[in-house]
Amino acid sequence: MSFGNIKSILLKEIVGAVRDKRTLITMIIVPLVFYPLLFIGMGYFNQVGNKKSENSVSIVALLGKEFAVQLSEHLENQEQIKIISGVDDAVVSLKNGDIQAIIEIPPKFDDKIINNEPSQLLLEYDQTEVKSRVAQKRITQAIDDYSDKIISQRLRVKNLSEDLIHPFNLETKNVASSEKMTGTFLGILLPYLIIILIFAGAMHTAIDITAGEKERGTIATLLVSQISRLEIVIGKCLAVMMISLSSMILGLSGITISLLTGNAIAGSEAIEGMKMGISFQAFLLLFLILLPLVGLISAVLVIMGIFARNIKEASSYITPIYMLTIFLGIISISQGIELTGNMFLVPVLNSSFVFKEILMGKIFWGHILTTFTANTIIAGIALIGATRLFNKEEVLFRS
């Protein structure tokens, strides 16, 4: 095996990919331009929408106003609630969006309050409408305040302290460091993103340099040269690995820029106080887990590309594998799921869980070694499979 030959194939594929406008669009323009624009746009419109909802006054129909004089006054005094009465068909008005909520007061409400008897209020709103949800929150808050006021009055009448109904306070304190908080936040999202970005980045190049070569008729010129099939496959897999790693790094950079710019625009505090606490050891471990995973995904994609007759066929073969990868990635997002022993032999799933553990600061050597070994062996088998396919004339010259 000649490393010079592998290098020649690798360089040829990398230069070819870099000169392909589609690669540049998917690798650079989409993550570094479109992601931030998308997040800025989403942040901006979300902010505008929220402000509009917060600033608007909720129109509320009050039915049975005469049964609760003090409560009606209390509600009317709320700045962002406008009480209307005498609505003919309040439910229809609510459904049409003319009003945002209905409060129904039963007869003798005030009497029951005075006599310390329990009473029932009914609040109707439309869960599917933002303005109606805002109205529901405002009314609930206002009624809770009114309820507290009545309780205080009753306690005062009976000369009782408010401490009687609040025997103790519960103070909660988060002991997690900001690094751990960041790690947990990243641990949920990052493994999934890494896997999807690796796959998406590798897909186009893998198809182009395998099925694409068949479609363009360039494969024969490679096969009759003095380079071995193994050298061709290794060179091509390395090229796909490099492109997908670069694509993942650019994708993550794009998402980081997007989060920072998007949040800055929207004024969100979601990532305020975030601190990256990844140690050098954790970083090395992440890379150690990443390499066989990228190798495995690249080799599988190269197999699919070689097997397919043309680019179109390769895309249809790869789509179900992409869906499966997304599914395995989603499992890692789900909180509370823990992998057991043998499950760390399942490619993609194992990496995403080990990524998660490392990012959360948990180093389980058993999981790391199992994942690394399993993925390396499977990547090696896939590489051998790809080389075998490259030797099969019925695959190379399928028509």
């Binding site: 030959n5 040829k12 230069v15 363009r216 024969a220 010129t221 490679l222 040269s225 003095q226 004339e393």
Partner: protein
Amino acid sequence: MIQVDQLTKVFQDKKRGKIIAVNHLKFNCQKGKIYGLLGPNGAGKTTTLRILATMMIPTSGKASINGYDVVKNSSKVREQIGFLSGETGLYDRFTPRETLRFFGKINGMDNQQIDKKMDEMFQALEMEHFKDVRVGKLSTGMKQKLSIARCILHNPSVLILDEPTVGLDIMTARTVTDYVKSFKDDGKCVIYSTHIMREAEKLCDKIGIIHHGRLLAQGTLACLKKEFSLEDLEDIFFKLIERENHLR
């Protein structure tokens, strides 16, 4: 030289069953000669040439290039051969200079050898003005010149040319056939498949007429004319094809 003995290739097709693409073919071609493999589409020409170029393995029979068996010594065979087909097999995103450097390297040449050979070929094939233009922007004629350069860059002694003029305009086709003649003058052994009678008449020292994988007749043009008492290669060709179809 090329030696082919009882070469057979059978494909298994799910729908059509067993297909004998090449059926006990036997011929040879010497140094400084052009052997023309003449036949209609689907005759087995491309399969034969793919076996000779080590891209396919024969079902039975033998073939050797300069004494090296195409199955047992495939890597040695690949050192001896240059392969050219109608499909240019070039990378659109590379320039001719980059293309030749790449193929030179994977054919075991060092940078000095590649540079020297490239300069020679850019001059000989009049490629100077487009040597740094990407292949995707070149005309068909320019591409075929580059394909010729790619094929002979590592100075192979045997050239396997699979319908190299198919789909080319008359001017480009002429450029290709002129080069094929020059290969012969350089002492190379050339096997040339075609279905164009005129090309076979003009270029080939020996012609083998192939149909349904079988070699129906072979010999020099003069011998074939004498054998079939016909003056025109096309008439000889059709007579053989009709006879073969009648027998089947």
